[in-house]
């Protein structure tokens, strides 16, 4: 299992596809988090089931 350092290495400088969900964590929230690890969103959507 990767530790935190390894995951950070995986995220830094990476292109991120974000699949958020309104009833969970929405994409804008995930994007805000990824900015702190220098990952670049290339596709972002928030699923919404009503």
């Amino acid at each position: 299992m990767p530790n935190g350092k390894e995951v950070k290495k995986m995220l830094q400088g990476k292109k991120a596809i974000i699949i958020g969900e309104r009833d969970g964590v929405a994409s804008p929230a995930i994007e805000a988090c990824l900015k702190t690890v220098d990952a670049t969103p290339i596709y972002s959507l928030t699923q919404c089931y009503v």
Binding site: E6, A16, I19, I42, Y43, L45, Q47
Partner: protein, 108 residues
């Protein structure tokens, strides 16, 4: 994932390739997390959409996984994610995504 979103995602991958790409989920439960994770690793499990049979093998994580939480700026995480972490079944969700990710890495 609906068919339109699968098509858009496929187009993004066609344009960017799979190198240096990771997928981050925000699904609210174990079932939806597993479906999305499978869609971006081994292909659409419902075999209905453009990603049916398409093994993208993308590394997939859920934003609630401890390893990710530990690396994100704590203030930003607290502001945007922490509340949902308390509400959702984090253990089941992250277990499902980890299982699919590890299985996906064995695909070849």
């Amino acid at each position: 994932m609906d068919l339109e979103d699968q098509g858009l995602l496929k187009r993004v991958i066609d344009e960017n390739g799979t190198d240096n790409v990771v997928v981050i989920l925000g699904s609210p439960d174990e079932e939806s997390a597993r479906v999305y994770a499978e869609t971006v690793t081994s292909g659409d499990p419902s075999w209905a959409g453009p990603l049916a049979g398409v093994s993208l093998r993308l590394p997939v994580y859920h934003i609630l996984e401890k390893e990710m939480r530990d690396e994100i700026d704590p203030a930003i995480y607290e502001e945007h994610v922490a509340m949902m972490e308390m509400v959702l079944d984090t253990e089941e969700i992250t277990r499902a995504v980890r299982e699919v990710r590890e299985k996906g890495s064995d695909l070849g």
